[in-house]
């Protein structure tokens, strides 16, 4: 009897999630295109600037250049019409003293920025999934 219940529960879940998911468009489109990606980056950088644990890493950074670079990277990894030409992740972060807690906070700020700019959960998950493997590169030369 419980297996029937299990089957029904899983079937219901599948239908519910399938209805929510929008897999017709590219991730770039689901993020809202370049206009919304730029808004996400700006939202994200404001959160970073407000975070006393993180803001120090950007003391000598040209924020406009960083914003453009992040926008181009998100466009690139999400299948948009850009080619990221900034430095590779390992060199960009070398000897900065980035710890796990900093990386985790950046992920939390990015996800919060995605949600605040109206990105649906399936696209948030997909983008975080594209960026998560960069952990290894970012931490390589710490």
């Amino acid at each position: 009897m419980h297996r029937t219940f299990l089957a029904f529960a899983l079937a219901g879940l599948t239908l519910m999630l399938a209805a929510c998911a929008q897999h017709q468009s590219t991730l770039y489109e689901r993020l809202g295109g370049q206009t919304n990606i730029d808004a996400i980056v700006e939202n994200f950088l404001y959160r970073v600037a407000d975070d006393t644990e993180l803001v120090g890493f950007f003391a000598n950074t040209n924020i406009d250049k960083l914003a453009a670079s992040l926008g181009s990277m998100i466009c690139d990894v999400s299948g948009g019409p850009c080619h990221y030409e900034g430095p590779p992740m390992d060199r960009a972060h070398q000897h900065m003293g980035v710890k796990d807690r900093h990386f985790n906070r950046l992920v939390e700020h990015l996800d919060a920025a995605l949600a605040a700019e109206g990105v649906a959960l399936n696209a948030r998950n997909a983008l975080l999934g594209q960026l998560a493997p960069m952990y290894g590169d970012v931490m390589r030369y710490q």
């Binding site: 299990l6 999630l17 929510c20 998911a21 796990d100 959960l121 998560a132 493997p133 290894g136």
Partner: protein
Amino acid sequence: MMPSPHTPASFTGYLTTLVPRITAFIVLGMILATAPAYAGSRLLATGAVTAIEGAAGGGLSPWAVLSGTPSDEEVGVTATATRAWVDDYRLSVTGASVNVHDRIEVSVARQTLDLETLGGELEQDIYAAKLRLFGDVLYHPWGIWSIGAQHKRVSDNTIPVALGARHTQGNDVYLSASKLLFSAFAGRNVLLNATLRNTSANQGGLLGFGGDQGGRSWVAEGSVGVFITPQWIVGTEYRQKPDNMSAAREDDWQSLYSAYFFNKHLSLTGAWLDLGTIAGLPSQQGGYLSLQAAF
């Protein structure tokens, strides 16, 4: 059997019953006093919930993740209260764990099984450690891999020995791997866990260790869960079990679970259990609730 507080020996038993509960309340008090300042930096839900043996995991099985949300320079503490009701038994568990630098987790748990139909009570204490070998559930392409050991002691050997158990103490060791697959099912993140355990425990140890049909064996455990939202996961878990005693046939355990993470400090897990035959009473099914506090 319920310790009576009138003899020195059972006074110790009485104390050991109280200590985990007092610890839990102290920890809860500290959380209320300090929240939200001292949450670890790892992301919400990456410490899972507390399995019935005290380790971070699902309900039935330990997972590779370490408890709470501390990262490599942080320390975390959790306290858990759990209750499970099946047809003829009621299990209560209190537990606590410490996670040091997301490298090693040390946990204690006290299980009390009320034999509501047969009469009486069984108690077991579990002292355990889990070591993260490498990886991370989110960031590493191979996920996170850990090994663990659990030392279990049954406090009263009458019932286990009557059923044919060889020992009243035992040690489990396990290897576990966990991995989050981003956007893997209808745009939702999917959490996979697999655990391989070497054990001689009957019904997790509550019915002693070993028997006429066998001693140690390898068993497999696994779970699949879908994060409906970043705070809410539903899934199913399976735990293979040994079958050591001809007088008390034993079945594999399974569950259908739902865990909600209110924040990094508090989670509530509900589950539906199918534990099969326990000590001769068949088809034990019922509900499960577990509350975990972390800081």
